[in-house]
């Protein structure tokens, strides 16, 4: 597992997602803190291409150390790509959470929500809130 890091160029959501904006699309996954808090991930139950995900609502579940945890979408949109590699190698989320451990690519249908995302400093401050 890599050291704790929160890349400057990404946006963040209070449910511990990171978001990379690419035109009409948004790619997201879970942050270093999230994968560390969950522990070794052994299964990822994810939506299918074409499904809708809604900001603030669960879009899938991750299993780690006998715990099944919901994962929350940071933005609303239609799923256009799923990281299928996680089916066989869910531990990629732990090993490289901002790279090979990405989870979904969506086509945003409510891009105005981008303004509600946090920048890296705001996310770090959020993490440190008591």
């Amino acid at each position: 597992m890599a050291d704790e890091t929160y890349p400057q160029e990404l946006k963040y959501y209070r449910e511990h997602d990171w978001v990379r904006l690419e035109g009409e699309d948004a790619v997201f996954g879970i942050t270093w803190f999230a994968q560390d808090a969950l522990g070794e991930i052994v299964y990822a139950d994810l939506p299918d291409v074409g499904d809708e995900v809604i900001a603030g609502k669960p879009y899938g579940e991750l299993e780690s150390v006998k715990a099944v945890s919901d994962v929350i979408a940071p933005l609303t949109g239609e799923v256009v790509e799923v990281n299928d590699a996680l089916e066989d190698e869910p531990q990629r989320v732990n090993e490289d959470c901002y790279g090979e451990g990405w989870i979904l690519r969506i086509r945003m249908t409510a891009p105005g929500q981008i303004g509600e995302l946090l920048d890296v400093d705001a996310y770090k401050a959020f993490l440190d809130e008591a």
Binding site: E63, V65, A67, V68, D70, L127, D128
Partner: protein, 225 residues
């Protein structure tokens, strides 16, 4: 006032028991604890554990809302429990909301305190790799409790919308051969685990549970300060 609300003990089929636990995960606004027994016997599977249905089994097969591996449940050799925590019950702040270890620490800690008070000497630091076995009682994770190498208490967890459910199983003794052998055939590996009896202990479930509740209440009172 007590933090932990305790539900009456319930003897029922596995489907009903898991529906109740799933309901606690969806709706608990207080810390709620319950003890239960399975009648008829059942094999519970982790939420995502692979399984091919087979007809004519001597036990029900049910899915848990939690993760982990298969557990054989039934009266006379095993009993179960669940503790549901509403959002924020285990600590405030962004970090507490996602902490998988904390609920295990609180519940397993309550069992450890209860068993210790009843004279059980628990093993320290015994852990094996996750998912090496399809059978839950055949492997040991950090929060499972063992004595003399026997796994006594297995725990698993589900988290949804900020709520957390920790439920688990206390193995009193090896299941009857007619159940264990079918489970072996289904899952392709021999049953392992003789539980409390294997470690040399015979303890009434009510006695353990009463002390667990005292320990749990004390732990949550400390967290609330």
């Amino acid at each position: 006032m007590s933090i932990v609300k305790v539900l009456p003990e319930l003897r029922a089929a596995g489907g009903a028991q898991m529906a109740l636990d799933a309901g606690l995960l969806e709706t608990a606004d207080d810390v709620i604890a319950r003890r239960y027994t399975w009648a008829p016997p059942a094999l519970s599977l982790g939420k995502f554990q692979k399984y091919e249905p087979v007809p004519g089994l001597p036990f029900d097969v049910v899915r848990r809302p939690s993760g982990g591996r298969a557990v054989l449940h039934g009266e006379g050799f095993e009993w179960s429990f669940a503790v549901a925590f509403p959002a924020g019950a285990l600590g405030a702040g962004a970090r507490a909301g996602l902490d998988v270890a904390k609920p295990y620490d609180v519940v397993a800690g309550a069992f450890a305190g209860a068993l210790d008070a009843l004279g059980v000497t628990l093993d320290v630091g015994r852990e094996s790799a996750y998912q090496r076995s399809a059978l839950c009682f055949a492997s040991v994770l950090r929060h499972d409790l063992t004595a003399r190498g026997e796994k006594l208490v297995a725990v698993a967890q589900a988290r949804r919308g900020g709520r957390v459910l920790v439920h688990g199983s206390v193995l009193e003794r090896r299941p009857p051969d007619e159940l264990a052998q079918v489970a072996e055939t289904l899952l392709g590996e021999p049953w392992q685990g003789d539980g409390l009896a294997g470690a040399g202990y015979v303890l009434a479930p009510e006695m353990i549970w009463k002390r667990v509740l005292v320990q749990l209440e004390a732990a949550l009172q400390r967290l609330a300060v």
